[in-house]
Symmetry: C2
């Protein structure tokens, strides 16, 4: 079991990583003084596969809980679902002091965190990420959100959890595609911040997908440490430090949005976004062709997509223009100037961006 601390003064919290980490939950709840009443938000799939360990742990500790299931789709990240969830929370919470447990992947985590942030102007919540993607990235750092028709994550809050429990034992329930999606984010950390992680991912290749939980645990620990450090330095993304986590995401989001969040999952879209961001970096002379090919080769070796199918360039560019970090025609992209060296670049010529996207459309 490994404990990583996210240091944010009064908002500091632990990330517990390990097989069976869920067994530490009740002790933490007591230590943190969260009370004896948990509102669990999850989806049906996760409920069937992963909730047993959690509910056993809560029962053993004599706690009251209620499970609220949301549909397992990005469409759950809506104000409509959020409204319905907080209404149920309010009914359950009458006469109680409740905290939220987010049991699931990025959708459950983002929605649950926002619900916790706005209910009674903020109640505590715990992240129990059940996907690799959520364990290495989205469950850490307090970015919570739902989508609007006008764009992904347009409604949200910075609101830190009180605890993250990354039980790598839960990852055995994931299929290959979900694991790959999480590994895309791990590759991202390697590219922007950690050459050793990049080399580790190169060395183990696809083997990680079929190996036991120990290699995944190593990856979750390393990624959690990187993310914790970045969040500590720039919690609210005001200093341009946290921004580097968006490497591959700006264009990745546009690809997701342009395809109606159907064709590619988040990690796959980020993989495509990273390939395009590398190409833009190369075209701007920030990196050489060799590094670009090395990145492409790693992404390919994990079975992540390398070409965009069934989406037109026009739709992607249109979605990109709606990025909430852009102001008017001024764009801002996270690029790289070497392995482990992210750079934020503003006003990248649109011709270079569209050419790089076009190069990936098959």
């Amino acid at each position: 079991m490994r404990i990583i601390k996210v240091k944010l003064d009064r908002r500091s919290y632990d990330i517990v990583v390990g097989k069976g980490a869920i067994g530490l939950l009740a002790g933490y709840v007591k230590k943190l003084g969260l009370g004896g009443s948990a509102f669990i938000i999850t989806n049906n799939l996760v409920k069937d596969k992963c909730s047993r360990g959690l509910t056993d742990e809560l029962k053993k500790a004599g706690m009251v809980f209620k499970i609220r299931v949301i549909p397992d789709t990005e469409k759950s990240k809506s104000l409509a679902v959020l409204s319905s969830v907080v209404a149920d929370l309010a009914k359950f919470d009458l006469q109680r002091r409740t905290f939220i447990i987010a049991l699931g992947g990025g959708v459950v985590g983002d929605l649950s965190g926002l619900a916790a942030s706005i209910y009674k102007r903020g109640i505590p919540y715990i992240q129990i990420p059940t996907t690799l993607l959520a364990q290495v990235d989205s469950a850490i750092g307090g970015k919570t959100a739902v989508d609007l028709r006008e764009g992904k994550n347009l409604i949200g809050a910075f609101y830190q959890p009180r605890l993250v429990v990354s039980d790598v034992g839960l990852l055995r329930t994931l299929d290959r595609r979900q694991l790959r999606s999480g590994l895309a984010e791990a590759i991202k950390y390697g590219i922007i911040k950690d050459r050793a992680l990049f080399a580790y991912l190169e060395a183990h290749g696809k083997g990680i997908l079929s190996a036991g939980p120990s290699r995944l645990e190593h990856i979750v620990v390393i990624c959690s440490r990187i993310k914790a450090g970045i969040v500590r330095a720039d919690e609210r993304e005001e200093k341009g430090l946290r921004t580097i986590l968006n490497f591959g995401h700006t264009i990745g989001h546009a690809i997701e949005a342009a395809s109606g969040f159907n064709r590619y999952n988040h990690g796959e879209a980020v993989a495509l976004g990273m390939l395009i961001a590398s190409e833009i970096s190369r075209r701007l002379g920030l990196i050489n062709d060799r590094l670009k090919l090395r990145i492409a080769s790693l992404i390919k070796s994990y079975g992540l997509p390398t070409t965009i199918r069934g989406i037109t360039l026009e739709r992607i560019v249109k979605a990109l223009h709606r990025d909430k970090k852009f102001i008017g025609a001024r764009n801002r992209l996270v690029l790289i100037a070497g392995l482990g060296r992210a750079r934020i670049v503003e006003n990248v010529p649109w011709e270079i961006i569209t050419a790089a996207i076009r190069g990936r459309i098959s």
Copy 2:
């Protein structure tokens, strides 16, 4: 023109009070670097009566703006209206950097502040309160909220505005009932914090209602100063200091909720709540009968209600049990131990509470 500073480190802001204060808006927007694109949230009544000065000011400064009208009712403080407003905001905001202006009373201010807080994880907003109640209280301090069926203000955030413009010239558009409602909050400040204000209100009586804006300006300035000081000391209501602002509100909210937010406006309900809180304070031996009568007499002299009509004791008590600050059967009330001396009291015997409420039901 008077400027009161709400000191909250990086979240500090000015409250500008005076006739024609709206004329300072464009200068502030420039100084604060808020950009040139304003999304104004208001209601139809206010739009007709008060928006001209604002839009003239924005046009003069060459700014782009859009007016979004919400219905003039507490029912607008809903997640449904919030969703519709942020969707419009997102459409307007495409390709821009937008800030919000809340032009209206408490409903507009609470909803607009929450919209600003959750859109893109927080964009700037300015409060331009058009009611006395909002100028002396709700526009200051960053409490934003909408209601759930389960209770008032159950969804919200602490999110400070970048500026409050209290143009007392706008108050001439208010009818007597609205002015009285605001004066109820002013009376509250006198009771919990400022004997001199209480005496001022006693000395001028109903005359304030018919006097020109200078007396109201004095009241707005004094109340803004008190509220700014309390918010500075306990921004997120974590230290039990800001809590005293809830004097009369806990039971007032229950009265509002029990009557379906129809019969009494907020100030009227607070007036009734203050009478009942005074009575509870007397029954607990915290104050004597004389002070209780003095408070009742001031409230009555402003034409505020002193008896509850058309609502049963049972419904009020039931609504009270749902107060979001109560935990289980444990209640918590703001009472007084003298003029200007608020006290938070937990576990007040329910018999005393119900007896005090019953005494005001006619």
